[in-house]
Amino acid sequence: MAKIIVVTSGKGGVGKTTTAASFAAGLAMRGNKTVVIDFDVGLRNLDLIMGCERRVVFDFINVISGEANLKQALIRDKRHENLYILAASQTRDKDALNQEGVERTLNKLAEDFDYIICDSPAGIETGAIMAMYFADEALVVTNPEVSSVRDSDRVLGMLSSKTKRAKEGGEPVKEHLVVTRYAANRVGKGEMLSLDDINDILGIPLLGVIPESEKVLNASNSGTPVAMEDNADAGQAYLDLVARFLGENRPMRFTEAKKKFLDRLMGR
């Protein structure tokens, strides 16, 4: 039975696509057959982050409208045989996404895959609701910053009211907090909301903390999910996150400010 996980946030630019790409990559690297779907119709970007933009022939909307079948539209990642992507359409508008079509596609994918990752568009409109509607679990991506935290709170409200699980009165969507662009040194100086602060406000369990890192831009420049990069702090943090998602107990890393050289010498 496939698990459907939406990566969502409300606010744009917080790292949803980066998270979706690395989460999917991490699950695949751990031997799970995983597909990641771009729900951002009209503004597709997942293909670029995954480095397969030149291999997109058919997309999610083509599948929904019956112009192509899933086999034609699924792009297999060149680095990991367990990893597939389904690109969004660039030309259509978001109304092309309809609930029946999305459900049909997800059901078909569920026959074949262990995990289906839905990369939500920003906002709280049709596209975002469509991405979360069929989800079993949700990664709520949040930056330690006021507007992002407030938007995440809005999205939590939607997860508990607008999803299929909410409407049918089943078990609620399982929510996970993912804090990205975390700068431990700034938190230490009282310039940035801490993990505890965010936790107090949003009140959902923390799955992972991704440090602010230049490696994220480097990885996206080359079309590699940062989780696949060796020696990238953010990539390691994503792999930890995946391990926790799969039930392993891994302490949070990159949450303490780096000590200055002098402090280390003095054993402080």
Partner: protein
Amino acid sequence: MGWLDVFRSNDKKTSAQTAKERLQVVVAHRRGGGGDHPAYFPQLQQDLLAVLRKYVQVGDDAVQMEIEREGDLEVLELNITLPEDSRH
């Protein structure tokens, strides 16, 4: 700057603390609206408005109420906004 300010600057809030407090206000509002309020809340709000209107002209949004929970303690926070010209 007075000499007292030297001491005051020590317990000055950090910007992160300010951010947290501001967020707690806006976010608690949504949580409260999600069925967490006691059932009598809307009626109490209407009654309070009616009483107020015996004395001052106020709009429908003049009475804001929130319930804050801290452990076992529940605090009803009542915020009444009077119009500018209410004092004669």
